[in-house]
Subunit: 594 residues, 2 copies
């Protein structure tokens, strides 16, 4: 999104990197807010015609050559002073870190208690929470009429007034996920009134992957535009991996605490208890997780509704809770203890992402009774969360044929009082494993147009294996396309300026500008160079598709040149000819006899 | 699409390949019609549970191990007897092939006349046309109430009655492109009542590529599901390349004769004449081109409407015709001679694809007056073509943001009397060069759901370079996804059975069945093996994403197993528990105080 008015980057120390940036086509700039410690990063693209375009930037300090980042030290805690200044939180000793938090058995020789410092020695800290269990959430502040620095930050980022941000949060139509223990984030907002956001999942599993890889996947995903990252790790070292990801993440981090809780009972769902779950939530809240998926809508009574489905329950969280409910023939402990959970989340400003554990896993199961029964419960839980001042978004499916997509967002908005919808795709067909980023990118664009606030990406490996670096990038880029296509269709202010800048560059054969404005400049440049690698080709007034003689854009330009100096003159000249033509009858054929 | 009733493959000579097919998971089978020379190919997928699924097959004889193909001999002319038996066509000497047909200057030492045999010695033949210029089109037959073998063929392929096929063609709502000089094709139909089709473009250009490469691209594209192929060659050897492509193509071939005509005047648009164009159309019609893009809607009066566009005219044909109109300040020779062109096309049963030369080339230019003015002219030309019994489809854009897509198909259907719409994408944003298969796949799925009959693919190289083998495959697969997603959304009979078969295989961990049912079995298998390469993993009851403990499908299955033998029993058991629960109050929280 470009904006030449409100968001002119203005930091003095940019000068140096701006000069350097001009040679490579872009640089990281900052828009300063009402206070010097409120600086919103943007990607400033310098065009060869002297203009520049300002784009939303999720990549964090990693793309700023003036910032010295080190994964062992973590990012600078930019929100720390804002949080402290509010005076409503306090540091405390925190829950001891246990070996089993990292999936290590009690009998392991590596056993024994540690504290957070031992997990991430780079920046010693104590966890923080609301004083006396007070709700220290952006929702609480918004309702009180306060515009926090975080709200001002996202207002600048989204190019709207801070009042709009406050209103949307206060009404529950948007969330600003920002745990008081994750001061490193660059605040962002999720709501239909704002740019559509994209989440990328990372996470090691029992089968493969390491801590370093997960941190690297997070920075890689945000480099390409992921607005939030969910850490879905399930194997060893869950706690430590999460700590390293959090300390190094410029974007909000989401998790599904149930996965770790299940690890603690060796994968036996029936052994899960509210106490183990609650302890895990506190563990993660102290680390700084910004939003948590909670499958509290999977109620005992809904499980039979899935029995005749083609693909049963496909949400991991959903199937774990269903198994627990059936094993005990009792109502879900998440549903039963939801109010207590609200109190915990409110004390850290953890945002709920109410999970759709009964989402359809196939085209055949879309929009069925199990799915919508759960959705109605999510609506009920959303209201409870709001009573506790907990920010809340609602997760959505999944697998839905195109003609059933709109019903999903419409029902969700109605039942959940317009709380932000956060959908996984949806996949619009099941017949293309290895291409589910595309089957789901189609559904994602549509549902975002109709109001979904955040899209959870799907990679080409969905259903088949764990995504590698390339898959993460492909998934993020595909979903940025879906999100931006939706921003355009929603008429989001400024969204089209980006397309226009690229279209202008294309028409004027400014190849380098096309590349630098592209969602993925590297691949665009590489594809161009495959056919016409020479440097002059990048200034050529044609391209390899049609060659010089057939280039339609060249012909269009020739038309303009030959038939008048300026565009207005061409139009006048041509309009004159056209009028003459119209006067002469303007048609060649007689009316058609049917 | 599966069908266990009407389309059981029944050829006796299948037995051998069927046995062989079972070991590799699928085989090429044929469904026999009312006569022994009418055998419709299908892809028969053999599942490990003993069932089989029948899928539409575009790959031609190349995937039949019992057929010995040789590109130098071409494919067997399966329609030849049908055409001859109608008795309304005749062979004739045909236009001599000139060196300039292959882009060779008169002065070239390779000069001198040849006939078609010299171009493709493998199968001597003379061109054929309607006796006394008679309309020998499927439209003419359909209007007379005749069900041709071609119509019966597509009826079997589409799993509908031959009467439906005849009705749709007669009403102009569908086309069956089948030049009498292209007897090698396996007939197919394009219309909103039928499966959504996909076209792949191939074509050498002045910059790169060879004859062999183009033939190979054609067989490669059809192997992955291209329903038609357009040969957009613009460089040397256009005529010869086209001949080789036609003689080896099992799918209809489309062209844009204007490109070759322009070559004949050395790329100088203003030197084009009706005679040169007409001669080129006859040249291509004699070779067997099944449909031709004709930009007769680019009228002089519309050119000024493009002057203030962001990206002017982006269609090559459109810009050539605009340049011609302006150079001469005269009405388009295509528009002026449209009736004569109809007579020519009718004599060979060449189908019109009325080109949208003024389609938008950027989000900014979508749905503007230039575009819609041309569309109204296409509606007028469509009616003229129908008077001459020429089958006609209408081309559509291009670049359109999502919220403006529906207007395109609705207007086209209204203005063009429901003639089949054939759209390029549309791309839903301009910011992702290198990913325009995806930006456009989104728009393609939507517009096809709303009624577009055929989608022209876009490859990842669009706007950047010439597609290679991988790009062609990616483009075709992406568009098959869009087409099938639309078939599902339209509720096309049988479309969902394919998804259901794959979903069942997924839920039951039948990995090999998932691969064999996938649009791209090779990549699906490869992605799976990347994470879990061992053979036992392909029968494992979990996959690499979550590992054995967390597999939701496994948990779902465990639930079914542990809580009753059959699904009905589980449901009964669970329903009983659920009732007890409901009786106990069915809720945990008191009504919410707002």
């Amino acid at each position: 999104m470009t904006n030449k008015d409100a968001r002119t980057p203005a930091s003095v120390q940019d000068a140096q990197s701006e000069e350097a940036g001009k040679s490579i086509g872009w640089h990281k700039a900052y828009v300063e807010g009402s206070r010097p410690d409120l600086r919103v990063p943007v990607r400033q693209v310098h065009l060869t015609n002297g203009q520049s375009v300002t784009l939303y930037d999720t990549s964090g300090p990693y793309t700023d050559p003036l910032v010295d980042t080190d994964v062992r030290r973590g990012l600078s805690p930019l929100r720390e002073n804002w949080i402290i200044a509010r005076g409503d939180t306090e540091e405390y000793a925190g829950r001891p870190v246990r070996p089993e938090d990292d999936g290590i058995k009690h009998t392991s020789p590596r056993g024994g208690l540690r504290n957070l410092d031992a997990v991430f020695p780079g920046r010693p800290r104590q966890p923080r929470r609301g004083k006396d269990g007070k709700a220290v959430t952006q929702l609480a502040y918004a309702r009180r009429g306060e515009i926090t620095p975080e709200m001002e930050y996202v207002a600048i980022r989204e190019n709207v007034s801070p009042e709009v941000v406050r209103d949307e949060i206060a009404a529950g139509r948007a969330v600003l996920p920002a745990n008081v223990n994750h001061p490193e984030i660059e605040p962002m907002i999720i709501g239909k009134r704002f740019l559509v956001k994209v989440n990328a999942n990372i996470g090691n599993s029992a089968v493969t992957s390491s801590i370093e890889e997960e941190v690297e996947k997070m920075t890689w995903a945000t480099r390409w535009g992921a607005d939030t990252v969910m850490d879905l790790s399930t194997g060893r070292n869950i706690h430590t991996t999460r700590e390293w990801v959090l300390r190094n993440s410029p974007v909000p981090i989401g998790t599904v605490p149930l996965y770790q809780a299940l690890e603690k009972v060796d994968g036996r769902a029936e052994e899960l208890t509210w106490d183990i779950y609650k302890d895990t939530v506190i563990e993660q809240a102290e680390q700084g997780v910004d939003y948590m998926t909670v499958h509290a809508g999977v109620r005992l009574a809904y499980v039979p509704l899935t029995a005749n489905r083609k693909t049963g329950i496909v949400s991991r969280g959903g199937s774990i809770m269903a198994a627990w409910c059936l094993a005990h023939h009792k109502e879900s402990f998440l549903y039963d203890n939801f109010e207590e959970l609200c109190e915990i989340l409110a004390a850290y400003d953890v945002t709920y992402s109410l999970g759709d554990g009964l989402r359809p896993g196939s085209i055949a199961d879309a929009n069925d009774e199990a799915q919508f029964a759960e959705l109605r419960t999510l609506g009920e839980l959303n209201r409870i969360a709001k009573r506790f001042n907990v920010q809340t978004m609602i997760e959505g499916p999944g697998h839905i044929p195109m003609h059933k997509i709109k019903e999903n967002i419409d029902l969700q908005q109605e039942i959940c009082d317009e709380a932000p919808f956060y959908t996984l795709g949806p996949l619009t067909t099941d017949v293309a494993p290895a291409y589910d980023h595309i089957t789901s990118g189609i559904g994602a664009a549509m549902i975002a147009w109709w109001g979904t606030a955040m899209l959870c990406y799907v990679t080409p490996k969905e259903h088949l294996g764990l995504p590698n670096r390339d898959d993460v990038k492909t998934g993020v880029i595909t979903y940025k396309i879906a999100a931006h296509a939706a921003d355009l269709a929603k008429g989001h202010p400024g969204a089209q300026e980006w397309d226009d800048a690229l279209s202008d560059a294309r028409f004027e054969f400014r190849w380098e500008d096309q590349f630098n404005l592209a969602l993925d400049p590297d691949t665009a440049r590489e594809f161009h160079d495959e056919t016409l690698p020479a440097e002059p080709a990048k200034t050529a007034h044609f391209c390899s598709m049609c060659g010089p003689k057939f280039c339609s854009m060249k012909i269009s330009q020739d038309i303009r040149r030959e038939h008048g100096g300026t565009q207005a003159e061409i139009e006048d000249g041509m309009a004159q000819k056209s009028k003459e033509f119209a006067a002469s009858g303007n048609r060649v054929y007689l009316p058609i006899a049917d």
